[in-house]
Amino acid sequence: MIRKLLLLFLLIPSLLVAADATIPDSQLLLIKNDSPLIAFRILFRNGSANDPAGKEGLAALTSSMIDQAGTKTNDYQKILELLYPMSASYSAQVDKEMTVVYGVTHKDNLTAYYNLLRDAILSPAFKQDDFDRLKTDQLNYVAKSLRFNDDEELAKETLNWGIFKGHPYGHPDAGLVSSVQKLTLDDVKSYYASNYTRKNITIGIAGDYPDSLITQVKKDFAALPAGDAGTDRKLPQPTVADWNVILIDKQTPATGFTFGFPIPLTRSDDDYYPLMLAASWLGQHRSQVGHLFGVMREVRGLNYGDYAYIEYFPFGGRYFQPLPNVGRHQQIFEIWIRPVQNQNRQFALRMAARELQKLIDNGITKEDFETTRNFLLNYSVNLAQSNLEQLGYALDDRFYALTTPYLDIARTRLTSMTMDDVNRAIKKYLSTTNMVVAIVGQDAAGLAKAIVDNTPSPITYESPKPDAVMQEDKQIESYPLPVKADHVTVIPADKIFQ
């Protein structure tokens, strides 16, 4: 009996170990097809919203120490040399609520690539010299590149900050100058240990992979710590009251804008889909089909483009289609006005705000509804084409707890949607009562005063415009924006995100 009890005693821990020895199937997302390009997306449910107070930028720096630094097996130079003949790489992308490490390899090189990818995530070396390099790079990004090199991305980050003040979303993923300066290697190690866990992970693989790869992956990633139970943090509700204008003062020949407000909708909400149609009609990203593009650029030549969104779309100047794996449980409605010549900037802001109000007041017509619906139904074939994209969309489906793929839901909803559904959603969710406006341009104080004083802003053109346009311009040039002086903030470019 004692021997049996002893054996049982010895067996039970091994049973317990065996139960924890692999990642469960529920945390795998597998797409098997005949493509020789094997795509990986390894997603962790943590992001910059998990940055501890005073350590903003930590999630991003930790991810850099995974994709741009050495492992316990190879230093970073060696990793680059090993990846080189495969023409493969892996990258980490951090957003507010998720971090994903992704990459693609040809199946000829699968074993060698996977080993490097696995080691990067499971066995980062966390060496001081890599840390020093990557911390400096991140600091330079916030202090110089974000502030000065890309006015449009600066405006978007400023809008985010303005809407989400005091909220876990309310800082750039790369952090603030003062917080990044203080980050230490121990901070990174601590963040990694707490957030790169079995609890948090979903492993996505797509392509013509062998089954043995999956067995290996499940076993290897079981080495991660289990993780705490409560990783899904509760986010406070952002609040925006009245119009708030933030102007970043820097020398530019043209002024960029973006403005918006929080909305309580994500892909898991029924009303997301009619509002998606409304946003597409108003300003489909980087497309001529949008209304704002038509009336601001095509008719008036105000700028390079004007767009509208109900979902976060980073780096819109670089990408024509949305990046997967920037899922957020709290979204904003946003209008993006690309830089406008300074003499027309106030007119452009008024015009965009007025067009939004017209949409709210009048809704969209049956013809516009049908055309936009057809556009979205047919355009969807452009999305999720490659293995890497398909994985990204599927992972986002899980984030939003969708049991049917998002693109399928969208097509189904669009097919049965009516114009009244769209106009009802517009009335319910869109409003110009409360707004945050982010502006990047010169003589910010002068523009601020003009906005607060509602100074008329007439426009002149090189060539005559139709009478209807000229008549409308007269209304636009004095369209009032309800901005009070104590709701305006002017910040020099070298001070934002300090």
């Binding site: 390009l37 130079q77 040399e81 080189y84 003949p85 495969m86 023409s87 790489s89 040809h106 000829d108 010299d129 020093d132 390099r133 790079d137 330079n140 202090a143 110089k144 590149s145 502030r147 000065f148 090199n149 890309d150 006015d151 820097k250 020398q251 530019t252 020949p253 043209a254 001529q288 089909v289 038509g294 650029r297 095509e298 008719v299 008036r300 030549g301 105000l302 700028n303 390079y304 483009g305 024509f320 289609q321 690309r338 830089p339 010549q341 055309t371 936009t372 057809n374 556009f375 139904l377 047919n378 355009y379 074939v381 452009n382 084409q385 490659s386 053109y461 090189e462 060539s463 070298d494």
Partner: protein, 443 residues
């Protein structure tokens, strides 16, 4: 992992896909030249429900040889969206909206590319729309003047980007006569004057938007025989022209040139050294060797990268590009450094690296790894019609067909370490270079 987009690799993506004797391109394709000299390349490939349709025009900013007319190839690309009698802008936009087309265009030094990605069932409609605008484009003076302001908007949105400023400066200083002296978007003074050049824009269309100057590329899910029949039908009325750009040859450079950009605002400093380099040709071993040298000497696996970026941490990247061009262009070596005081040392490290490449042949193992990198880079670029099309366009605009892929493959495969040493000795003479530094000036 930082992704480096070596522009040269867009061409090299055709190289070394296989060591088989047959064609390296993995898809069956069909090339046809119509009676009016329009070239058509059809590449059916697995792509769920999608077709990618490209029209590549063999004209870019390099063709802007007349003073005061820089930026017109790009401006004209904008005008191509302004409609015809049959399909005025609203009607065209309505059709494209209903079909859910992902459509746009871009212009480079040497070519202009128009593309649409859309569901297969709309292919005939797209052929109709595209053939119509390429033959019958029509726009008014007011539309032209309005669009010129959108071009100015495009220029302005890039104003803060230091690499855009660097590109403007290096060309302006390096070139005297070549039309590569100006960027594709043009000199700002020419952009500002565009509203006054309506007649010139019509002339541009007549000169360059001709069938002998264009190649249609179709990839994805479609029936090739039916598609060719439709293309022949819709493009038949298109008449060839006879205009040929007379490029102004660039005189030989006789001494090093230097320039400086005082960037408004705070930014990381950048140094670029650009050498005059030969034009692209599929059988140019010099071109191939120079291109391979770029990655061997300055890529992420190079000793220079290891020292400057990883060990000394003076720069956050180092790169070299030998971008393929119709005429002799620039071989660009550049780095972004973390402190102004390191600019001279980093610049000198470019030259000491080049001296090493001159003194001894390239490492055979690194060269073999690079050729493997190109093979897999190519194979991995072909997974969707969009990505395959984007890669192929860059090549087609230089040769008008895909047959030269195999020649190019052979050329790159044949490059030896000694070939790389020889081109290093030939092209990297100080008198052949232009150096620009960019530093931030506090506001």
């Amino acid at each position: 992992m930082k992704r480096k987009l070596l522009i040269v690799l867009s061409l090299l993506l055709f190289v070394a896909a296989s060591l088989r004797a047959e064609s390296i391109f993995p898809y069956k394709y069909q090339e046809t030249k119509l009676d009016n000299e329009l070239r058509v390349i059809l590449i059916p490939m697995k792509n769920p429900g999608l077709v990618s349709y490209y029209t590549v025009v063999h004209a870019g900013s390099r063709d802007e040889v007349e003073p005061g007319k820089s930026g017109f190839a790009h401006f004209f690309e904008h005008m191509m969206f302004r409609g015809t009698d049959k399909y005025p802008p609203e009607k065209r936009n309505d059709i494209l909206s209903n079909m859910g087309a992902d459509t746009n265009a871009y212009t480079t030094d040497d070519f202009t590319n128009y593309y649409l990605h859309f569901p297969t069932k709309y292919l005939e409609q797209v052929i109709d729309l595209e053939s119509d605008r390429f033959m019958n484009l029509k726009y008014s003076l007011p539309a032209f003047q309005t669009e010129s302001r959108a071009v100015l908007g495009e220029y302005n949105k890039n104003f803060s980007n230091p690499f855009v400023q660097l590109d403007e400066k290096i060309r302006d200083v390096a070139f005297d006569k070549s039309s590569y002296k100006h960027t594709t978007i043009g000199f700002i003074k020419d952009i500002q004057n565009m509203p006054n050049e309506y007649e010139y824009s019509l002339q541009f269309f007549q000169r360059f938007y001709r069938p002998e100057n264009c190649t249609i590329l179709v990839l994805g899910n479609f029936d090739p025989a039916q598609t060719l029949t439709l293309i022949k039908k819709y493009y038949a009325p298109w008449k060839p022209g006879d205009y040929a750009t007379k490029p102004i040859p660039e005189p030989e450079q006789s001494a090093e040139r230097r320039g400086k950009i005082d960037y408004q605002g705070d930014t990381l400093p950048i140094v670029m050294a650009a050498y005059k380099a030969p034009a692209f040709a599929v059988d140019s071993k010099e071109y191939a060797a120079l291109t391979l040298l770029a990655d061997l000497a300055f890529g992420e696996t190079s000793p220079l990268y290891q020292r400057l970026v990883l060990k000394e941490q003076k720069a956050d990247f180092v790169q070299a590009d030998n971008d393929p061009h119709r005429d002799p262009y620039l071989y660009q070596i550049y780095a972004r450094v973390k402190d102004d005081k390191d600019l001279p040392a980093v610049e000198q490290s470019f030259y000491s690296t080049l001296e090493e490449m001159k003194q001894k042949p390239a490492d055979p193992k690194r060269l073999a790894d690079l050729k493997s990198n190109l093979k897999y880079g190519f194979l991995m670029s072909l997974d969707t019609s969009k990505r395959a099309g984007s890669a192929l366009v860059r090549y087609i605009e230089l040769t008008h067909n895909l047959e030269g892929i195999d020649t190019l493959f052979q050329t790159f495969q044949s490059v030896t370490p000694e070939d790389i040493q020889k081109v290093a000795q030939k092209y990297f003479d100080p008198k052949n270079r232009t150096v620009i530094t960019l530093s931030g000036a506090k506001q």
